[in-house]
């Protein structure tokens, strides 16, 4: 039974990992924190819903278009919100993304209202028995999709020219410029990928928790996950996400069920107090 809970915890954790990944990608390459990551995911989900439910487009096309939308949203945010303030301190950009998250949330509320909407499942729901565990295909689907996405991203960053260039930019913008790398384009691409990752996260989770314009709050789980794993570290984002997901699912087992709401914050506070650099603990040295 516990194993069951852990497995569904891993599935939830995958979603958090994707959120944390989106946040970490942007932070690693630009040192900016994107508070609107969750809202980007939410809008993506609603786009898919609109295409599929309201415009009656086939499911696959709806999903594709909504992912396209999330990529465009990432690019748009980078171009309109981040680039004009590029020379400003990171504090400013953080507040700008804070504002963006409010804008997107209220905009979505106005367009789609604050109700909750059921979302079609991407995987036909069936139950599989694997030894002791009864797995739902949805859970399996989430875990596999996330794994596949992570693998793709890993291969992209490690082995492609553009991916390596993006890593280079995150390590030294100055040197990257001198290599002839278009750093601005690299930033835009980072935001685009980040948008895509959030979009996929939304599409995976929407069937399970229903679509709602308040979904964006999942960004806080993303932050907690990233900090738990080690802020600024990509493997940390993955680890932290899974860890948080498992924790959230296992805790109600031993504690009163309301504890679930408070877990991300307890984790946040706990990590920041005990070991702010998280599990992987990458420390960035500041140049004076």
């Amino acid at each position: 039974m516990l194993l069951q809970v852990i497995v569904s915890g891993i599935a939830t954790g995958c979603i958090y990992s994707l959120m944390a990944l989106g946040l970490t990608l942007i932070y690693k390459s630009t040192e900016h924190v994107n508070f609107a990551q969750g809202e980007m995911a939410m809008i993506s989900g609603f786009l898919a819903f609109t295409f599929f439910q309201c415009l009656r487009l086939p499911l696959a096309l709806s999903l594709f278009l909504s992912l396209l939308g999330s990529v465009l949203l990432g690019l748009l945010m980078e171009r309109l919100l981040v680039r004009p303030a590029i020379t400003a301190p990171h504090f400013n950009i953080f507040i700008i993304t804070l504002g963006a998250s409010i804008v997107m949330q209220s905009f979505a509320g106005l367009v789609w209202s604050y109700d909750q909407f059921p979302f079609p499942t991407l995987f036909p729901s069936k139950n599989i028995i694997l030894g002791v565990v009864r797995l739902n295909t949805v859970t399996l689907g989430i875990i596999c999709t996330t794994g596949l996405l992570m693998l793709t991203l890993f291969l992209f960053f490690k082995y492609t020219r553009m991916g390596t260039a993006m890593r280079a930019v995150s390590q030294s913008q100055n040197a990257a410029l001198l290599m002839g790398i278009n750093v601005k384009r690299s930033f835009a691409l980072t935001w685009a990928i980040s948008g895509l990752v959030s979009g996929i996260a939304a599409l995976l989770i929407a069937p399970v928790i229903f679509l709602s314009t308040r979904m964006g709050l999942v960004v806080i789980n993303g932050f907690a996950a990233a900090i738990l794993g080690g802020w600024g570290s990509i493997p940390g984002a993955v680890l932290g996400g899974i860890g948080l997901g498992v924790l959230e699912n296992v805790a109600p087992y031993y504690f009163p069920s309301q504890i679930r709401n408070i877990i991300p914050f307890a984790v946040l506070v706990g990590v920041l107090v005990i070991k702010p650099t998280g599990i992987i603990g990458e420390e960035r040295r500041r140049r004076v």
């Binding site: 504090f91 953080f94 700008i96 504002g99 209220s106 802020w231 408070i262 506070v269 920041l272 107090v273």
Partner: protein, 326 residues
């Protein structure tokens, strides 16, 4: 600093008299709004001390507001014989101590981590308030008893005006005093560069935690006043969104400036009231304003005023807000 020149004092006295006589002619709703302006101005000043002055991002001030409000509500109910000023003072001190305690672990954190920690704090407080229903009546909300001072019952907005405004004005003056002293300048220096200020002998820990403590004090008192004015408080009024509203106030009004805090509070509360039936539109406008100001006018409205004044005449004006963006 020659802020209080003879002409200024006479001018202010005149304005002051008019101001204090105004409830006689204004309608109830306007007076209520003026009270709200005052309360949020106090929160704004409090938040500015931490964010605008020492540069620590605080995304959980609704938590301090809640602590002040519920402290006041509970003490007034259980010990109604204590005069409201004392209750408010106690609420402020209680919240201030909590702020100080919060400031200590935060010392080890930087920038974005502080934002997350304070955010978590705000939500945890709101969750505690919700869950500890035996003390706070949780979701149902708490009916705050009327403030009674020597038999005088503050049972109308007009009467509350005379409780809220003097306290607010007093605290504003106190804040102006704080920022004008070494303490205030130390705060500003810390925002510009922690490392540089350390080399100048500024004891970082002392100042950063005191900033939190004073900030919490102000917000706590504001919370108490809030409880008296709104008369019925519930956890909804202290959500994460509220904390973000506060940030919007000081960004728009101007960080690192007391005048800015007041301006920001007035503008946002004004918008809130004008659009009171349309919370989404409110939020949308706040968000857009937040973005626009942060991109184009990071020093806020008070920053603009300073620029404009600087061009007219050279000389000390309201507050020496930092010249560069911190």
């Amino acid at each position: 600093m020659v802020f209080f020149t003879r002409r200024r004092i006479i001018f202010l006295a005149g304005v002051g008299i008019l101001f204090f006589l105004s409830p006689l002619i204004l309608n109830r709703y306007t007076i209520f709004i003026l009270n709200l302006f005052a309360i949020y101005a106090l929160v704004s000043i409090g938040l500015n001390l931490v964010m605008g002055y020492t540069g620590q991002i605080a995304a959980g001030h609704a938590g301090f507001l809640a602590i002040g409000a519920y402290f006041t509500a509970i003490v007034s109910t259980k010990m109604g014989w204590i005069p409201p000023i004392a209750v408010l003072l106690a609420a402020g001190l209680f919240t201030g101590v909590i702020g100080f305690l919060l400031g200590i672990p935060i010392l080890r954190l930087k920038g974005f981590y502080i934002a997350m920690a304070t955010l978590a704090f705000g939500v945890v407080v709101s969750e505690i308030v919700l869950q500890w229903s035996s003390l706070t009546h949780g979701d149902d909300g708490f009916r705050v008893p009327r403030a009674i001072l020597w038999g005088f019952i503050f049972d109308s907005d007009k009467k509350l005006f005379y409780l809220v405004q003097p306290i607010t004005i007093g605290m504003i003056l106190m804040a102006m005093n704080i920022v004008r002293t070494r303490v205030g300048r130390a705060f500003l220096a810390i925002r510009q560069s922690e490392i540089a200020s350390q080399t100048m002998g500024i004891h970082l820990a002392k100042y950063k935690t005191s900033a939190f403590a004073v900030s919490a004090f102000y917000t706590g008192v504001a919370g108490g006043l809030f409880a008296y004015v709104i008369t019925h408080i519930s956890p909804d009024s202290f959500s994460l969104g509220v904390s973000i509203d506060f940030i919007a106030m000081i960004v728009i009004g101007g960080m690192g400036s007391i005048l800015g805090s007041i301006i920001g509070a007035v503008i946002l509360t004004g918008i809130q009231q004008v659009l009171s039936g349309l919370p989404e539109v409110q939020l949308l406008i706040f968000g857009v304003l937040l973005i626009l100001f942060m991109i184009f006018m990071p020093r806020g409205i008070s920053g603009m005023i300073l620029d404009w004044r600087g061009r007219l005449r050279k000389g000390p004006s309201f507050e020496p807000a930092s010249k560069e963006d911190g």
